[in-house]
Symmetry: C2
Subunit: 199 residues, 2 copies
């Protein structure tokens, strides 16, 4: 997940992520990060300017990673429907493969602790933009209802996030077919005319 960083930085970032998810930012002290990562506080400050910088770096790294991960499902060749399903499947897959990163972004994307420019850059560099384009394309082809694509993508992303949240909390199980049905429901929500069966 943090391939662009050296060993020490990776240890710090991984540990910080784990502690923040387990115990809240509020309870994530430098001393604890040092102890659990096996890197002394002095050395942490050799590689990071401050605690804030660690958390913001973490945010940037995860968003970038997530963006690349989801885009692999989105940018494949195929019909709009195939790319639609491919994209959202990757979002779910991401949340299962990297639940801590997923949760972290979800929890802190609206936190004042993350610098505004970092959030801005994350939004533009992530997978939202390509997904918006796909929706726009579908709208142009009179396949989707004529609404703001940003709004539709946002709604569907919310559905996915809350599906994952519900599952993480043990409210329900989520097998492969449930996921397909869920994405299918999203597809139906925005389709203009009813036809085309799911693949």
């Amino acid at each position: 997940m943090f391939e662009n960083y050296n060993k020490v930085q990776q240890a710090v970032l991984n540990t910080t992520l784990r502690i923040i998810i387990q115990k809240e930012l509020q309870a994530t002290s430098m001393a604890l990060i040092a102890k659990e990562s096996g890197v002394s506080t002095g050395n942490i400050y050799h590689y990071f300017k401050s605690k804030e910088e660690i958390v913001n770096e973490l945010y940037t790294a995860i968003v970038t990673f997530n963006g690349e991960y989801v885009s692999k499902g989105l940018n494949q060749e195929g019909t709009i429907q195939e790319r639609f399903f491919g994209g959202w499947e990757r979002v779910i897959e991401l949340s299962k493969q990297y639940p801590e990163g997923f949760q972290f972004i979800e929890q802190y994307s609206f936190s004042p602790y993350i610098y505004e420019p970092v959030k801005m850059k994350a939004y533009l560099g992530g997978w939202c933009a390509p997904m918006n384009l796909l929706y726009q394309e579908a709208i142009d082809q009179k396949l989707f209802v004529p609404m703001d694509p940003k709004l539709l993508v946002q709604m569907h992303y919310g559905s996915m996030v809350y599906l994952v949240k519900g599952q993480l909390h043990g409210n329900f199980e989520m097998g492969q077919d449930t996921i397909q049905n869920a994405i299918q429901a999203c597809w139906k929500a925005v389709m203009l005319k009813q036809e085309t069966k799911v693949p």
Copy 2:
């Protein structure tokens, strides 16, 4: 919002909510709460056992309030479709009327800082249960797709939350007709057969 509390408690709860939204839990110190609420630290501890208790009390109070607010839209007489629209309209209305409370619950419902029993009680006492019942009813009547109603409600709630988030962040505007279209999309997503125009 905090009618069941005395003046001092109300001042503390309101102030705490505002600061947490503005500056993060992490930066919400007792000294700051005292200063901004006009209640001395000594007196705060006369009414609350600890900082954790304040935040958890805040959580409980807001969830209860939200539950009652949304239920007013849900429990009215009418067809399933009318109650469906009525319920989700209230969710959006709530988020516009009390954005701080809405954001707070949204941000901290998965935080380890909120005690597990508090979250549990909140889930049962809120509006999720009645909404689940409505969906179950619709499924029984072969009006909705035969999926777990908890899952469907969770998805739709996610859509609403992210609509609100997108709007709060200024990604798009959300007029009355946009809201109707959004809820309509949710309705279409789970409907079994295509008919019945929106009211």
